[in-house]
């Protein structure tokens, strides 16, 4: 496999005239043959993937299959060993390419809720009035206005995740990268935050790449789900989620079609989870 340079295209010139613009809208994220090797350990193996603009794209896969690694590559925090990706940016806009909601606690403990949520905007020197308006909006949407002056250690786990989400949304990126943002939460909080996330997302319908362990969550949130193989991570299957939007999470979960889809995905994922476990046991011996 040849190593190609990572290309980042500010792509519009390639778009043909208005007549058939809709048909050939460039994908928001185009991943081509990306692999990532740590030493001789293959974490991501030749992943090729197009994610459409405005798509809520989910990745499920067993632990250690390279999901975070792929996301970190797209976030520019890691270089692919081979392959390339491009993220389409709106021409002439100052919007950042991506913002990430990290797996685990990533709020700065030394900043208040407000300062944390405003971080991205401050770093790109947005006008103070704009920061005030946008951060105020997202803190309001996440129910954190009252806690604007609190420090992260004064918040519950669910509230901290809300701040992380507000921080990413407030930065107004082209694409959102979310790495298991709800995995550490209890079932009730998870449901609340999923609903909240969907509501916020409906405002602008940004392109989202969302990683999760939970098949339910993948079906609740996603337009399309990629099931990844156990290490090394490859694309195993793609599943389209047929449910319309806006979605009512509680209602959706009661539908038979929901249960069937979850079951179908579980069956496919199950093989990989078992394989991953076998690998771990082998390595243990």
């Amino acid at each position: 496999m040849s190593t190609t340079l990572v290309t980042k295209t500010a792509d519009t010139t390639a778009t043909p005239p208005a007549a058939d613009a809709k048909a050939v809208l460039p994908p928001a994220i185009r991943i081509q043959n990306i692999s990532k090797v740590f030493g001789d350990f293959v974490a991501v193996d030749n992943v090729t993937l197009d994610i459409a603009a405005g798509e809520f794209f989910m990745i499920v896969g067993p632990s250690g299959c390279g999901k975070t690694t792929l996301l970190r590559i797209l976030a520019g925090l890691e270089k692919p060993s081979s392959g390339s990706y491009s993220i389409t940016t709106t021409p002439g806009s100052q919007r950042p390419e991506n913002s990430m909601v990290f797996q685990g606690d990533s709020l700065f403990p030394w900043m208040t809720v407000w300062e944390n949520a405003a971080y991205g905007l401050k770093m790109r020197q947005a006008p103070a009035a704009h920061i005030k308006e946008v951060v105020g909006h997202y803190l309001d949407r996440t129910g954190l206005t009252r806690f604007a002056k609190s420090y992260p250690h004064q918040l519950s786990g669910g509230m901290r995740q809300r701040v992380s989400i507000a921080r990413a949304f407030a930065n107004d990126p082209e694409i959102l990268l979310m790495d298991e943002p709800f995995s550490a939460l209890d079932a009730q909080n998870k449901l609340l935050l999923q609903e909240e996330l969907l509501r916020i997302w409906e405002e602008h319908k940004k392109t989202v790449l969302f990683i999760t362990h939970s098949v339910d969550e993948a079906v609740i949130l996603g337009d399309r789900i990629m099931i990844s193989t156990a290490q090394p991570g490859r694309v195993k299957t793609m599943v389209k989620v047929p449910f319309g939007r806006p979605r009512n999470v509680m209602e959706l979960q009661r539908e038979p079609a929901f249960g069937n889809l979850v079951h179908e995905i579980w069956t496919s994922l199950r093989e990989e989870v078992d394989r991953a476990r076998a690998q771990i046991e082998m390595a243990g011996k």
């Binding site: 970190r72 990290f102 700065f108 403990p109 030394w110 900043m111 991205g120 770093m123 992260p152």
Partner: protein
């Protein structure tokens, strides 16, 4: 049930909170010690040539305050301490944090710091006198050296111990180098830096006292040394007492500063 309810108010009256009890002990114990000392001195159970009674030390202190001599020495020492702390502390902060962030600089500077750190700072005094002469600069240099090491080393360690995820967040949100320094490295290392500042101030106080004993005509160190040469033991104790008091007050001030610059620590 009713029994417990009845006894509770009574027990409450006789116990006090642990914090209050500790504070009381903190306050009572030095006073008790001073009283014991006074009594032993008055009945000549201890040699008052070496251990004059606290009351006579107090008299000397008042006398020295009246002549203004004590204020003069104290202010001189404090000024040297303050200037030395800035001269040593600010570069230590910048170098330490930058070393924490930049592995190249760390590789270059760390061996120098590690190799010179074990040298007792007081043993550099002759060299400082040689280079800077008997004037102010040699004293300021000594304080600066004492302050530099703990702050630089703690700042470096503090930055290196910052969870990597925060640097990833900074990177993801496109923080410039300066902003990584200002919004992540510095505040993230601040708890360790404050510990370094406290250690440094303690070291600076030791070193200012020592360097004023050699080749100085003013300052609390000079006061103590001069008292030895003239055998004015009372004055010596006054000097020691003021040095201890400065250390105590500085600790209080630094604790307040810490609460202010690290408000996010539980």
């Amino acid at each position: 049930m009713s029994e417990i309810a009845a006894t509770q108010p009574q027990t409450k009256r006789w116990t006090m909170s642990e914090a209050a009890r500790d504070r009381l002990i903190n306050f009572v114990s030095p006073i008790a010690l001073l009283l014991l000392w006074e009594v032993l001195a008055r009945v000549h159970l201890i040699d008052t040539r070496f251990f004059p009674a606290p009351s006579s030390i107090l008299q000397t202190l008042v006398a020295m305050l009246e002549t203004g001599e004590l204020q003069r020495h104290t202010l001189t020492s404090m000024r040297r301490l303050a200037i030395g702390m800035v001269v040593g502390g600010v570069p230590a902060l910048v170098i330490g944090v930058t070393m924490g962030l930049n592995s190249v600089l760390r590789a270059a500077v760390d061996p120098l710091i590690s190799a010179t750190y074990p040298i007792p700072k007081s043993s550099i005094l002759p060299l400082a006198l040689l280079v800077f002469g008997l004037g102010e600069s040699s004293k300021i240099f000594m304080v600066a050296i004492g302050v530099f090491y703990p702050i630089a080393m703690n700042a470096m360690t503090g930055v290196r111990e910052i969870n990597k995820i925060y640097l990833d967040v900074g990177h993801n949100f496109k923080a410039s180098r300066w902003n990584v320094f200002r919004t992540i490295a510095l505040p993230g290392a601040m708890p360790m830096i404050m510990t370094g500042v406290k250690l440094g101030v303690g070291m600076g106080l030791v070193l200012i006292a020592i360097s004023e004993m050699v080749g100085a005509k003013s300052g609390l160190g000079y006061l103590v040394w001069n008292a030895w040469e003239t055998f004015s033991v009372d004055q010596m104790y006054v000097g020691l007492f003021v040095i201890a008091l400065i250390g105590f007050v500085l600790t209080l001030i630094l604790n307040e500063i810490e609460k202010f610059v690290v408000p996010w620590k539980r």
